[in-house]
Symmetry: C2
Subunit: 704 residues, 2 copies
């Protein structure tokens, strides 16, 4: 067992090193670009009044960017480090009891999750404190505290930059290895999944670690970082408008909420204990129920601490009941998270109608299975969109009617209300991330158990954990999209504030009735389609390389099938690693370059046609349309993929002819198609949405 685990560890760490080596080179290059842009840009009036020179502001942004990139890298590394060590411990625990295996997996996932969330909070807190002291904030003649959060945007961009490539590279890696291994192993040779005779099996197990653990860690790290920063910016802006005497409560609120997240999620995780007397083999309780119980504990505690924090930090004498409205906003967010998780489960769990219908359509062939899966995925976008719409409107109106008014007496709390709802949604992020990390660890443990040929009873335990992990993975994606949708709405507003502050004029509207602005929107939506296309195609191409290599090994070493020869696992690992690094560049570059190019081109066009701020407006439309299309496309890809996967699992339970039947073959085709949808393109889109929001914030000077 330890031999296999070591091979996985070496593969994962090797890929991580090369991948992050590439990413850090790109990050350094981008840092230079940012530096040169900021050295030549205009300064904002606030900066001028606070004596913050061009050079200082350039160095600050670049430093924040690099720190964000570094922290994101560390977050990814921790996720991967823990999971490659926990997998083997889970498999040995599975030899003793199901409950113990569950506990080990959850604690390991929990550890990574707490580190990831903790790093986001601490990183921002350190940056904030450093700038506060260094720039002498709030002393006469220097910067106001309400302007400070804008300096942190570089951190968010750094985090999302790394997360994008981590998710793309990892996602391509994991699915190319998976699809490649299945196509030759399962389909052509008829050997089971995770069979040690398959030369691509180690690459597949490595993929779970680098694709799911490391990448999802980086993804949620960036979600939280971006959300904290945008909420701080909005809190600061609002506090300034309302002339609140001590605005620090509004600015620091997000950091406090996420500190509490660490506490309440830890309690939730620790509530999952092994039975007292571990020598007694108790009947296996459904692990999903246990995880749900822990989630309920976390949610109840989160509601209490959230309400407490709002009373503590958001109470002002100007609007004595405002904190209550904001507490309700938080509740809206928590409920949204819960409903999102429920909807995802409805569409992807085979206990419910949609997946059963999908499985049924497999009985008329590959074609009808794919048509049904695509329709299911497209249809599944409707409910989440309705939920998001209701949450945004209700949170906005709760904030709007909070009683906070600006100088002219008009209510201003609306956007901050949405921000608080987002924080509410993310207030159990550490627990959700734990459930997510749990999935690949259990999957890996199952792989190790299978490869080391443990008894059937052990395999049964890890199989149950693996199935639960699939569901939690799917629901986390729903959660990630929901929070991305809410967070990007905040980031729009931060972008518009930023543009207004650079342009020295008000920038409040994005009018899509102007042809150029409409075209910006068209280009934004198109960017999402093209990005998804390239991400899926990358998996297809890399998988074909794997297929060729595995076929070659089976032909050149005929002894593999009789266990007489050992397959060359290392070569498959190396092939997938280098191909996925190569393939991640094109979609990644598209995402980074296109908003900059579009913004710059329309800025030039606007300059010659006497249309001020045209570049900034077009980019705003690009951002908004890309966000909307991105949310829908990600929902479609994730849900369709999850549903295909579970339709196959449903048939494997014996329904509609069971394993080996024609229905099963059609369902396997669906599963193969769903793989890059749900684990490469879909999750990369969450990151892309937030990356677009932060890149436009940091690159705003280019468009003006």
């Amino acid at each position: 067992m330890s031999q296999i685990s070591e091979a996985i560890r070496d593969g994962a760490e090797g890929f991580f090193r090369t991948q992050y080596g590439t990413i850090s080179k790109m990050a350094l290059l981008l840092a230079l670009v940012i530096l040169s842009i900021y050295l030549f840009r205009n300064t904002t009036p606030q900066q001028e009044s606070s004596g913050l020179g061009r050079a200082t502001s350039a160095y600050i942004t670049v430093a924040a960017f690099l720190l964000g990139a570094l922290c994101s890298g560390v977050a990814g590394y921790v996720g991967m480090w823990v999971s490659v060590r926990a997998n083997v411990r889970v498999s040995s625990a599975a030899r003793r009891s199901a409950r113990e295996a569950l506990q080990v997996a959850v604690r390991a996932g929990g550890f990574s999750a707490l580190v990831v969330v903790g790093m986001a909070v601490i990183g921002i807190a350190i940056l904030y404190a450093t700038f506060y002291v260094w720039l002498g904030v709030d002393s006469p003649g220097s910067m106001k505290v309400t302007d400070l959060p804008l300096l942190l945007v570089g951190y968010g961009f750094g985090a999302s930059f790394v997360a994008l490539f981590a998710q793309l590279g990892g996602g391509i890696y994991t699915k190319a290895a998976d699809v490649g291994a299945d196509l030759v192993g399962k389909v052509e040779q008829g050997i089971p999944e995770d069979d040690p005779r398959n030369p691509a099996v180690i690459a597949d197990l490595v993929g779970d670690n680098v694709g799911d653990c490391a990448a999802r860690g980086a993804d949620l790290f960036e979600s939280i970082a971006a959300e904290i920063i945008s909420a701080m910016i909005l809190g600061g802006t609002m506090a300034q408008r309302c002339k609140i005497e001590d605005p620090s409560g509004f600015i620091l609120f997000p950091l406090v909420v996420h500190s509490f997240d660490l506490v309440v999620s830890s309690i939730g995780i620790l509530s999952i204990r092994s039975t007292r007397d571990s020598s007694v083999k108790a009947p296996i309780e459904d692990p999903m129920t246990i995880l749900q119980k822990g989630y309920s504990v976390t949610i109840v505690l989160a509601i209490l601490t959230f309400a407490g924090s709002t009373r503590w930090l958001l109470y002002t004498e100007q609007a004595p009941s405002a904190w209550l409205n904001f507490a309700l906003c938080g509740l809206v967010g928590i409920i949204t998270a819960y409903v999102f998780v429920w909807i995802t489960k409805y569409y992807t769990d085979y206990k419910h109608e949609p997946v059963r219908t999908l499985a049924l359509s497999s009985s008329t062939g590959h074609g009808t299975n794919i048509i049904a899966g695509v329709s299911l995925g497209l249809e599944s976008t409707a409910l989440p969109v309705l939920v998001i719409s209701i949450s945004i409107i209700s949170a906005f109106w709760l904030g709007h009617t909070s009683g906070l008014v600006d100088e002219t007496g008009s209510p201003t709390g609306g956007l901050f209300g949405t921000a608080v709802a987002t924080m509410g949604m993310l207030s159990t992020a550490a627990y959700i991330l734990t459930m997510d990390m749990f999935g690949p660890i259990a999957d890996n443990a199952g792989g190790i158990v299978e490869m080391s040929q443990q008894p059937e009873s052990v395999r049964e335990i890890t199989d149950v954990l693996d199935a639960v992990g699939n569901t939690t993975k799917a629901t986390t994606k729903g959660f990630a999209i929901g929070s991305a949708a809410l967070a990007s709405f905040l980031l729009f507003s931060a972008y518009m504030d930023e543009v207004a502050s650079f342009a020295h004029e008000s920038f409040k509207q994005v009018d899509i009735a102007i042809p150029e602005v409409f075209i910006g929107g068209l280009l934004g939506s198109m960017l999402i389609f093209l990005f998804s296309a390239w991400a899926c195609a990358a998996v297809g191409r890399t998988a074909q390389e794997v297929v060729k290599e595995v076929r070659r090994q089976f032909i050149e070493r005929p002894g593999i099938m009789d266990y007489k020869e050992k397959p060359d696992y290392g070569r498959c690992v190396a092939i997938v690693a280098s191909a996925s690094l190569r393939e991640m560049i094109k979609p990644g570059a598209l995402a980074i370059v296109s908003p900059i190019v579009v913004g710059f081109l329309f800025r030039v066009l606007g300059h010659y046609t006497g249309h001020p701020l045209l570049g900034a407006k077009v980019v705003a439309a690009l951002l908004m349309f890309a966000t909307v299309s991105g949310i829908l496309m990600a929902l479609f890809l994730n849900t369709a993929g999850g549903a295909w996967d579970n339709a196959k699992k449903y048939i494997e339970t014996g329904a509609l002819g069971g394993k080996g039947s024609d229905s099963h073959k059609a369902a396997v085709t669906g599963d193969t198609v769903g793989d890059p949808f749900k684990d490469t393109a879909g999750p990369s889109l969450h990151v892309l949405i937030k990356m677009l929001a932060t890149i436009t914030l940091v690159m705003a000077p280019v468009f003006l």
Copy 2:
């Protein structure tokens, strides 16, 4: 042969009667709704000043709606009537010579196309003239001529309402029959396509007529009608703003352009002649080349007449060179049409890289074929979006710099420039529609030849024509999307003018930074996803009914396979017909109800939160986001479907193992998936986009 042709004719005419029966009941119901809304709505200041009462305006709108619906029905009927009669004539012509068969098919298609375009022009011209005389336009105290076009919007809505259901019902019919026939016939029983033993074969051939001929006729009829009306509205508004003395040139310009379209396209069609001495069997010339030659003739003539019309009608003394700018706008449109056709060909023709790569990916299985096709489709959205963006911007700027200025001296011709570009794009519509109608006629002729067991040489001729028809069908779709994209941009503007005129205040901006407006956009994009889902799912469900019936017949009448028993074609026709009528209701109702519900809800919300015009703004965002997502989704669905179809055809030419190989099986799966994409959901989306634009125009009083 005539027996088969009669069966097809009966099936098609039977379905048409039932389908249009249902549609006309719904249209009457909707007419009552419109009537009651208009009887209780506010009147515009223009209407008040012209003495046009509430009741008159209500009757006018309803009458226009019903006339539009009627004309659309007639257009569809003519398309179907001609094609069910031409198919048998093409098959007997094919027994004589290829050239003659081509000529018969093209002339038949051309006849329908000319009737469709002609009806759009004449219908609007009659309405316009009637209102002009009846309302005493331009006489003192009555309506101004520039307000007249707004009364015609009901006509456009009627046309698009019928087109939506015609396309949905026909699209579901044709693809359910096709997929169902193939799944049992080709895949399970291994008999060739269009084999007389297949009980669903007549239903499949009927489908070509009702799905392709009738529906595409209604689709393009509606495109042209909507585009003429919106261009008339814009021309009128602009002429009024610029205080042009005789505005009728600007208003009547679109009608003149499309009258010329009839002439130049007729010449193009007639240029395709049979060789003089038809008794000499000349070597078969590539029919595509012949059609292209005709297209070139049409384009050259269109450019000339277009330039002439701009000089004749758009010359004003205020801006003597404006007509030249507008002529260039028309050229932009014609070039856009040409480039769109080229891009579609690049992505769907197997002479080019993309389809070859797709075919290659079939060699690694069903899964990789689907992944590659989806990526290809998603990627294919990029170039058309870039082309549309460039055309909109350049036409807008050509119009803007035309020298036409309003009272305050600011340029106003921009939007009219885009309108002229759209007219340019549609200025060869009749020829394009001819090429499109040609496809299903040739396809049907092939079916009749196969079923009546004609010699191989005859089948070869119809096969070549069928293949060409596939390509022209795909390119027409590209053309239809391009024109829908341009036309809907005009319809936005018309909508905003309409709202401003009802609300008695300026309505110039759709600011997506307002949460409710942003949500409107989110809902609009979601509508597209949900609509596509339901359209695809409808085909899947109906196809499963066909599969069951065909399987039943093969079991209950074992003599069918040995030609001893005749299959019951009629039952399949009846099953498909009733199922597709049932299935068309849900997506159709979604498209019609949702903008009205969203607009009304937000109007109420806006009323209670003191936010005037909220409903109208939210609907505007819904419309714009739906248009953008709809264009992208339609491009994706059409191109992916076309590419899968041709990848299969490429393999059938003998590449990658040829017919019967594993690659071919994978390619057939792709083709099956692509069928509802390219012939049901995709084309329905074109219609949906324009229907949304016209429904919001007509229903504007509900949102205010």
